[in-house]
Structure formats: structure tokens, C-alpha cells
């Protein structure tokens, strides 16, 4: 992983079967390991958003992004380094309630990590926390050492760019303009 930066690749696509495979095979060809992956509907109906992180060098990631971008079904792909992004991951932690209560105050953990109690029963308590990898990992470490963690899960990264413009809406506007100009119906 030396000399490699963590890139966040954002992909907007049609919501059709098989697109994830088309994206991942482009990583596979260049032997890039996907660190995190998050897929969900975007704000625009019918368009899905992929947020993918991978360690790479700038040259390779540029080629990968272009090769993703050119696939039919992909509307736009671009990439950023951390500095250009506001990004978060969400983590959930399940611990045994009786062991947790032995700590005395749980408010301390909740407030220090800005975490939430999602569910608490006599048997178990589930916390959730959003933040960067290092933050969610730090809470995991502390809970593991002091209480023991029964289950732990962390989502892929989601990210928003720091730029003023929303790239996709701009792109869609340009495309719609072009369609109008060509006097052709969108299908």
C-alpha cells in the first residue's frame, strides 16, 4: 500500500441489473482492492449512487474512473481524495447490557464518542456511531477492552464533495439541453 492514496470514487448510474459487476470488473482488471462500497438511490429518482473507496495512485485511478464512466448505464463517474470530501461511515456495536452496566455511567461513552443508543434490552445494548474510520474504530477498541463487543458492523463510506456545484444535476441539465437541441425524445 506504499505511496498509495485512499481515493473515493463516486459513480452515478441507471438503476439496472448488472451494473455493479460492470464497475467491479474494472477494478479487478487492475488488481485494485475495493476498501469500502456503498450503493443507494440518489436524490434523483431512478439514478443510483455508488461510493467506492480504494487505495491507488493518481494515474491508475484516473484510468479506472474513465473506464467506468464510459460504460453504457453509467451516467457519471469521478473521484476525490479525502481533502475534497465531507465523508462519514456508520458503525453499530452490540454489547452485553449487564457488563455495560458494570461500568457505571454509559453517558460518558455516549457523549465522548457522540454515539447513540439504538436499542437496549436486559440482554444487549446496541450503539450506533457515525464518523470517520478512526473514530468508529476508537470506540470499538474501547468497548472491546472494557466491555467486550458481541457484534460489530461498519458501513461503507458515504461522501459529499466540498465543491459548490452538484456535478450530476449540471450534467443532466446539459444532456437534456442536448436532447432538446437534437429534437429527440429521451427514452
Amino acid at each position: 500500500m506504499e505511496n498509495k492514496t485512499l481515493y473515493t470514487i463516486t459513480v452515478f448510474s441507471e438503476n439496472t441489473v448488472g451494473l455493479l459487476n460492470q464497475i467491479t470488473i474494472i477494478f479487478t482488471r487492475r488488481r485494485l482492492n475495493i476498501e469500502t462500497l456503498s450503493v443507494s438511490p440518489s436524490a434523483i429518482e431512478g439514478i443510483h449512487k455508488f461510493t467506492i473507496t480504494a487505495f491507488s495512485d493518481p494515474d491508475t485511478v484516473e484510468k479506472v474512473v474513465k473506464q467506468i464512466d464510459k460504460r453504457v448505464g453509467i451516467i457519471k463517474a469521478y473521484c476525490n481524495v479525502n481533502e475534497g470530501l465531507v465523508h462519514q461511515e456508520i458503525a453499530m456495536y452490540k454489547v452485553a447490557t449487564d457488563r455495560l452496566l458494570q461500568l457505571g455511567s454509559i453517558e460518558d461513552i455516549v457523549s465522548r464518542y457522540n454515539a447513540h443508543v439504538v436499542e437496549m434490552t436486559g440482554d444487549f445494548t446496541v450503539f450506533s456511531k457515525t464518523g470517520h474510520y478512526a473514530d468508529t474504530q476508537a470506540m470499538f477498541k474501547e468497548l472491546s477492552e472494557r466491555v467486550g463487543v458481541l457484534q460489530f458492523v461498519r458501513s461503507g463510506r458515504v461522501a459529499i464533495t466540498r465543491e459548490k456545484v452538484e456535478r450530476l444535476s449540471d450534467m443532466l441539465a446539459v444532456m437534456e439541453e442536448k436532447v432538446k437541441r437534437d429534437q429527440l425524445p429521451d427514452q
Binding site: 474513465k66 451516467i75 437534437d182
Partner: protein
């Protein structure tokens, strides 16, 4: 059920006809039978060429597409029928050839159950197609076919696979023809950037030693005229990739020959001397560039391409001119000043003389010894008046053919460039003849490659297609043998071939032929081949250990050229 309703299979027939299709290369089987049944009623509009193996269908469709500029169509069954097309699909992908492969698939309720002859064709072909889509309902047919042809043929062309479930072939629907001319998530031609055009023109106007590299994009985009106007106005010599051959006529004074591993000395050496390198519709393949670290480092590089992902992929460009070269090249030409580079162009001349003296003369005009491969190619091209379509297989036969065949017109070369598919030649030649029925099609093939798809002689017999097959028989897998001689201490591991009697094989398929071993018989045999109406097999026993020179060993500098006489 309404009278107007038709089956998905019939909808496919009508959709193909509405896309202007008149020829299909195919092979029936279980999961595509309803379509072949529908085809029975459409025989007049849709000529079906029955191949002998599904791989042959794809290569034939490629040959058809390459010479005609139209989209080639393949119709095959599911499972093994579909997997047999993968080589051709991959070949079409890497060589940007528009083909649409329509494969049968098991009925949709059985999908995912390992049903008989089921394979995940969409999953398998996604890495090697522009688009792969499964048609699961008859309603989808018109839309999917229209979209498939739009995607395959526009922008940078490529293969599309339609995986057609059997129930969708059988179910009945109201058919309405569709046209697709726009897809939101697909931009076939990027918008040209005026500033890039101006910058490219500015750099070319200032160039003292410009060199153009012509790729297949020029042929695909019908940019031949614009290219010639561009080169003439600024007096720019142009080398060509293998797939770009015939974009410029062989006798065009600005055509300085072929690039790459076995290309001409002049354009390869001059790549590392020019001050401005202008790449047009080519992709800096490693067989052209050799070692990228030493490739054209002194030059400013202008790259015309329709595919943004090709920019900076292998070679860092100074200016990228994206768009359809038919427009962008013409736009740049308008901004060029008339120019002459006499001294620069004259500097190519001694390099031709060197190549002629040290390589070409002995290859084309030997006076004794066995027949040489280059000599054979040269005699065939002369006998056809340099007007034939040349199809090749892969290996030494291919390199000799592309080095020495000559062209008067464009779309005269059909060869497997990027994938280097042995066995490509014979089926591709069949497709080429069907795509360009008025032209003579000469296939150069080796004894190895011919045996990879030799069953397609049956296709020739049944369809009556006229292909002139020139078999260069050296009883070796020649190109591998050449590398073994040069780089593996002459250890000829598994390259000698014990071959059958090829003329007898042709005869069994009712194809006349003749075996020539003597130089003296060559011209008469070639004349006989060209005079015969119909296909012909000319087997020529060539030098056993012939070598293709010049040669730049893989991964080395383009100037590191071996001439074979050191």
C-alpha cells in the same frame, strides 16, 4: 389473442429488418429454435449464412462489419453455442468492431437453476462487450434490438450481446418498431473543445518535424478524405497502425508505412525524432509503442480520439482533441497554414533504402531457395492490381501480409489486431466477401491457424462464398518458432506441425486447389486461383524457418530494431 400479435421471435426478425440487417451468421440449437423457425418465413429478407462453429459466426460478422461499415449479426443458441462466441466477441471489443450477437437462453423461469444449456451469458460477456442485455419478455425485443444496434454502431463501435430467453421468443405481443438515437447514460461522441482544436493547430503550425499516426478510427469514422487534406496542407508524413492500413493508399507519397513491432524502419525510428506526434484514432498499443518510458519522449503529442478513456491511457498527451475526427480533423485543418517539411520528409528516404537493401529485397525477390512468405504476398498483391481485400490469420502470415500487401482503397484490411486470434482468418474472409461482394478477397493463413477453424470450409461450400485462400505452409507455428529461435535458444518446443494434405481437405469440400513448392510455378498458380470462379485453396510450401524482419523485441525501445542480417 389479437390477430395483430406476433411472437417475440418474429418481433426480432422485424426489428432486425428495421435496423437494415440483411445478413445473419448463425447456427441453430435448442434454446434459439423459435427464432430459427421465425427466420424460415423471413428467408427472403434475411440471408442466413450457416457456419460450422459459433466462433466462426462471430469472426464472419467481424469481417462483414470491417469491410462494409455495417453492424454484423450473429444468431446462436444458449450454453456452448454462446460460450463459443466469446473469442469473437472479445476480438470485436478490442478491435472496435460493431457486431450484435443474439443468443438463445433457457426459459426465464429456469434462469439461475443450472438448466440444460444455461450459462450466465450476460455475466460472462460484460467484460468484453459494450453492452450485454438479457431479453426476458417479448415486449422488450424491439427496444433491446434498437438499443443494441445504436450502441454497437455509434461512437467507438463494439460488440453487443443480447441474451434472449426462450419464453420471450415464444410469447406474443403487439409489435411496434422502435428507434433508439439517444441514451441518457451513453455519450458516443464527446463534444469537441474549440480551445483544444486551436491549441492543436497552433502546435502543428509550429512543428518542424511533425509525424502523424493513423489508426483504425480513421476508417471507422470515414475520415480518409479529411485525413488526406490535413496531411497535405501541412505536409505531414503519416505512419499507420496495422488496423489503420488502407486508410491511406499505399502509393500516397505522405504514407510512410507501418508502425510497430514488425513495421517499417522509417516511421518507427522517426517516432523518436519528430517534434510533434499526431495520433489519429489509434490507441498506442504496446505492439506499436514498445517501451513507453522511451517512446517519443522528445515530442509534443496531440491525440485525436472519440473515446476519452484512451487519452493518457498509455502515452501522456500534450493536447487531447476529443470528438469525431471527421469534424475535429477538418476543424484543425482549417486553422493550419500551408506548410512544407521537405528536409524532414527527405530524411525518411535513406531509411527506406536501408530497409529495402537489408530486409525487403531478399524477402520479396529471392532468386533461389524455397519460396519466401513476403515474396508470395507481393506476387498476389501485384496479380490483384493492389485492389483486393486482404484478410489474414495471426502470426507470420499476418505480419508478412500487412507488410507487403498494397491497397488502392480503404477498408481493405481485415485482421485480428488487438486480440491476435488464430483461426480468425478463414471465417473473417467469408464475412468480408459477403460484406463486399464486388471485391476479391484474399486470405493469407498459416498451417496452424487454418486448422483452428478449418471446418468453415463447409460454410464456403454451402454458401458458395468466393474466398481466395493462400496458405503459407511452413509446417511450423511460425511466429512462435521465430521467438523460440531468437529468445529461447532455438528450443522449438511444440511448434513443428505434422500437417494433413490441405488440397485434399479442400477437395473434400469441393473447393479446387493446388500445392506449389517451386518458385517457377507461383505466378501461374496465382493466376489460376484468381481466374477460377469461386473459392480456391493455394497452398504454398514456404521457407520452413522464415523470419519476419524488421523486428523490435517486445517491451523495448521503438528504435531497437533488429534487421536479421547483423
Amino acid at each position: 389473442m389479437s390477430e395483430k400479435q406476433i411472437t417475440g421471435s418474429e418481433a426480432l426478425m422485424r426489428s432486425l429488418i428495421s435496423e437494415g440487417v440483411d445478413t445473419i451468421f448463425g447456427y441453430p440449437g435448442g434454446a434459439i429454435m423459435p427464432v430459427f423457425d421465425a427466420l424460415y418465413d423471413y428467408k427472403k429478407q434475411l440471408r442466413h449464412v450457416l457456419v460450422r462453429h459459433e466462433q466462426g459466426a462471430t469472426h464472419a460478422a467481424q469481417g462483414y462489419a470491417r469491410v462494409s461499415g455495417r453492424t454484423g449479426v450473429v444468431l446462436i443458441t444458449s450454453g456452448p453455442g454462446a460460450t463459443n462466441t466469446i473469442t469473437g466477441v472479445a476480438d470485436a471489443m478490442i478491435d472496435s468492431t460493431p457486431i450484435v450477437v443474439i443468443a438463445g437462453q433457457v426459459t426465464s423461469s429456469l434462469l439461475g437453476t443450472d438448466a440444460f444449456q444455461e450459462i450466465d451469458l450476460v455475466g460472462i460477456t460484460q467484460p468484453v462487450t459494450k453492452w450485454a442485455y438479457q431479453i426476458r419478455s417479448a415486449e422488450d425485443v424491439a427496444w433491446a434490438v434498437a438499443r443494441a444496434f445504436h450502441i454497437a454502431s455509434t461512437g467507438r463501435p463494439g460488440p453487443v450481446v443480447l441474451d434472449f430467453a426462450k419464453d420471450a421468443q415464444i410469447n406474443r405481443i403487439e409489435y411496434r418498431p422502435q428507434k433508439v438515437t439517444h441514451i441518457r447514460s451513453y455519450i458516443p461522441v464527446p463534444e469537441p473543445d474549440e480551445s483544444a482544436i486551436a491549441e492543436a493547430a497552433r502546435i502543428i503550425n509550429g512543428a518542424k518535424k511533425p509525424l502523424a499516426l493513423v489508426g483504425q478510427g480513421v476508417i471507422i469514422g470515414n475520415v480518409e478524405k479529411e485525413l488526406l487534406a490535413f496531411l497535405n496542407k501541412a505536409d505531414i508524413p503519416a505512419g499507420s497502425t496495422i488496423l489503420g492500413l488502407s486508410a491511406l493508399p499505399s502509393d500516397e507519397p505522405l504514407n510512410v508505412g507501418m508502425l510497430g513491432m514488425h513495421g517499417n524502419i522509417a516511421p518507427n525510428l522517426k517516432t523518436n525524432e519528430c517534434d510533434v506526434l499526431i495520433a489519429i484514432g489509434m490507441r498506442f498499443d504496446d505492439r506499436v509503442t514498445g517501451d513507453l518510458k522511451t517512446y517519443a519522449r522528445q515530442a509534443r503529442i496531440i491525440h485525436f480520439d472519440i473515446d476519452p478513456s484512451e487519452i493518457n491511457k498509455n502515452v501522456k498527451t500534450t493536447v487531447a482533441v476529443l470528438g469525431d475526427a471527421k469534424e475535429t480533423l477538418a476543424a484543425v485543418t482549417r486553422l493550419l497554414k500551408e506548410n512544407r517539411h521537405t528536409e524532414w520528409r527527405d530524411s525518411f528516404k535513406p531509411l527506406y533504402d536501408t530497409e529495402m537493401e537489408r530486409v525487403v529485397k531478399s524477402e520479396l525477390y529471392p532468386v533461389e531457395g524455397p519460396v519466401k512468405m513476403g515474396e508470395l504476398v507481393n506476387r498476389v498483391t501485384e496479380a490483384t492490381g493492389n485492389d483486393a481485400i486482404m484478410v489474414t490469420d495471426v502470426g507470420q502470415n499476418q505480419m508478412m501480409a500487412v507488410r507487403y500487401f498494397k491497397y488502392n482503397r480503404t477498408r481493405s484490411v481485415v485482421t485480428s489486431g488487438g486480440l491476435g486470434t488464430m483461426g480468425f482468418g478463414l471465417p473473417a474472409a467469408i464475412g468480408a466477401k459477403i460484406g463486399a461482394p464486388d471485391r476479391t478477397v484474399c486470405l493469407f493463413v498459416g498451417d496452424g491457424g487454418l486448422q483452428m477453424t478449418v471446418q468453415e470450409l463447409g460454410t464456403i461450400m454451402q454458401s458458395g462464398v468466393e474466398v481466395k485462400i493462400i496458405l503459407m505452409n511452413n509446417s511450423y507455428l511460425g511466429m512462435v518458432r521465430q521467438w523460440q529461435e531468437l529468445f529461447h535458444g532455438k528450443r522449438y518446443s511444440e511448434t513443428p506441425m505434422l500437417n494433413p494434405d490441405f488440397v485434399k481437405i479442400a477437395e473434400a469440400y469441393r473447393i479446387p486447389g493446388r500445392k506449389v513448392t517451386e518458385r517457377a510455378d507461383l505466378d501461374a498458380a496465382i493466376a489460376e486461383m484468381l481466374d477460377v470462379k469461386g473459392s480456391y485453396l493455394l497452398e504454398v510450401v514456404v521457407e520452413k524457418k522464415g523470419m519476419v524482419y524488421p523486428m523490435t523485441p517486445a517491451g523495448t525501445c521503438v528504435t531497437n530494431i533488429m534487421l536479421g542480417d547483423e
